[in-house]
Amino acid sequence: MSLEETATEKQTLAGWVLILLGLALVMFPIFWILSTSLKSIGEWVTYPPIFIPERLAVENYLSIFTGGALGGGFVARVPNVTKSVIDSAICSVGGTAISIIVGLLAAFGIARHRIGGEFFPIFLLSARMAPPIVAAIPLLILYSIIGLVDTHIGLIIAYACFTLPYSTWMIASFIEEIPRDLEDAAQVDGMSTLETHFKVTLPLIKGGIAATALFIFILNWSEFLLALTLTHEKVLTIPVQIKAFFTYSGQLYGPQSAFGVIAIIPLIAFSLIIQRHLVRGLTFGAIKG
């Protein structure tokens, strides 16, 4: 730490005050949803609001999976959310897999052979710029013609397509970090171009692809509009279930918060794992964290 690093006391103190203030503003909502998810019925709507529940109402978490009635004399039908968790998993994983595989192939094309030249990258980016609703309408029309509305496959393909710009660009930026000489040397030693891509460069960017996959999964898991538009009953993802839960019963604060907490657990977990590559993902590989 050079002399300059140890700034004057005043600056460091002010710095820490700002950081703690920021932390409080960030943490309070998280605390609020967690505490509400553990409040029993009486504590949901009170004035002044209750911050720490007396008893940890674990039944809120259990009721949303059993779909049973809530105790405490107030009988209410709590919707069963297990189907939405399963559907979300299927569609997110399926969408991510296709997006990664197709994205990987395209990334090699862009990074190593400049296929598509200048036009393709611009098209890929602008496909991502337009608000999803603008693309959802024609998709709904197409799906209604070929009978893919309200099907897992339909949503999976939509998810794959909408995250392709991210997966292609992120993987391409990982490929560009591997020197071309490695592939050239392997080619001179007896491999064809394609083999050098998959046997030489691919093993070296395994970590990057895993991070990209997690990043795409996070996008698909929390996607709402496409699911709302392209599915009705047979397929029900978590965000759509939350909206239904909210409009249907509105006042079931406890179970609804519990469902919210459960929905974000995988997101937080995956985000911690890929934190290093986050910047690259969010900026289409333009900035490497």
Binding site: D181, D184, A185, A186, Q187, S192
Partner: protein, 359 residues
């Protein structure tokens, strides 16, 4: 083993012409060097032989077989890249064994040839370590082992010694030369360092701006450079070139006059009387008093002791700066007037227009 022949091969990237009808031949088992400044097209030439680049015009033959359309994997050529990139996820042994694994050789044969090459390059002790733990020299030798392990027809080394530090480079030159003699295969290496080329290669191709200026043994390039480009490139510090006018047996620039009647029949072949006089710093003597003739009056501009000798820069009256090799550790007085005497058997004369050599 194989010979390599280029017949007026041209190559350009977009509008930048990198190679212009380049023709040369490398004999079988020869240790051949392509010498040229950065950007002269050395790497492109090697990539053309390896098949990583396609020639726009002209033909490339390996062992008499035209290979222009053959993909790299069918040419049985190996190449070591300047960046010495190794597979970061494989240890030393796997890096060297890689070419044999692709060819699907049996495990026993792979083991035997990798150990043979490792002994040859004295790197048995690092075979089980990861590339990131290698020193510069070790990295260079593993890359070299990888290039020679499968006994390809031709071995290509792109600036093999440029990425290792100076002290190691001198030893590696001797080792590379010993290795070439021992494995007796056709090796073509590129470099921008004329000392490297002169000390290692049996024959050198001087490449400048995509054109072959001269092909020959080191002594030939040093003593009989074909033009000013080669003269300037070979020898360090480089040859001095001074423009003069030739008239009836005398070469004169406005600061000195030399009688060159012994070269009159060569000078007759010049396209005009404008001649370029070339003389090497080591062939000059700095004298206190003016010798009888063939000398120039100069002033000391600067001097740099180089240990075993001193590089002195002198300026002629016109302000032209010339290099001279002086005695080691002598303190030259700034702007002191001295005399530069020429050794007439060691001068070179070039035709100013065509830049080609006369003597």
């Amino acid at each position: 083993m194989a010979s390599v022949r280029f017949e007026n091969v041209s190559k350009s990237f977009g509008d930048k012409g990198v190679l212009q009808n380049l023709s040369f031949e490398v004999k079988d088992k020869e240790f051949f060097c392509i010498l040229g400044p950065p950007g002269a097209g050395k790497t492109t030439t090697l990539k053309l032989i390896a098949g990583l680049e396609k020639a726009d015009e002209g033909d490339i033959y390996i062992d008499g077989q035209r290979v222009n359309d053959l993909p790299p994997r069918h040419r049985d050529v190996s190449m070591q890249f300047e960046s010495l990139t190794l597979f970061p996820n494989k240890n030393g042994y796997e890096n060297i064994a890689f070419p044999l694994r692709i060819k699907g050789r049996p495990e026993s044969e792979i083991r035997e040839s990798v150990l043979r090459v490792a002994r040859l390059l004295r790197i048995e002790h690092i075979l089980d370590r990861e590339p990131r733990t290698f020193s510069g020299g070790e990295r260079q030798r593993v890359a070299l082992a990888r290039a020679i392990v499968r006994r390809p027809r031709v071995i290509l080394l792109d600036e093999p010694l440029s990425n290792i530090d100076a002290l190691l480079r001198l030893n590696m030159r001797v080792e590379l030369k010993r290795l070439a003699r021992e494995i007796g295969q056709t090796i073509i290496f590129s470099t921008h360092d004329q000392a490297e080329a002169m000390s290692m290669a049996q024959r050198i191709l001087v490449l400048y701006e995509g054109r072959a200026h001269q092909i020959g043994a080191p002594e030939e390039l040093y003593n009989r450079p074909v033009d000013t480009i080669v003269a300037k490139m070979i020898g360090s510090p480089p040859m001095n070139l001074v423009e003069c006018l030739y008239s009836d047996g005398k070469l004169s620039s406005n600061t000195f006059i030399i009688n060159v009647d012994k070269y009159t029949e060569y000078l007759a072949r010049a396209t005009s009387n404008e001649i370029i006089l070339g003389f090497r710093p080591e062939d000059l003597k700095l004298l206190e008093e003016p010798p009888r003739e063939n000398a120039a009056k100069v002033k000391i501009f600067s001097y740099e002791p180089l240990g075993a000798k001193t590089l002195v820069k002198v300026t002629t009256e016109e302000g032209e700066i010339l290099d001279v090799i002086g005695e080691p550790w002598v303190r030259y007085e700034m702007n002191k007037e001295m005399w530069l005497s020429f050794d007439l058997d060691k001068i070179h004369l070039f035709d100013k227009k065509t830049k080609t050599i006369l003597v």
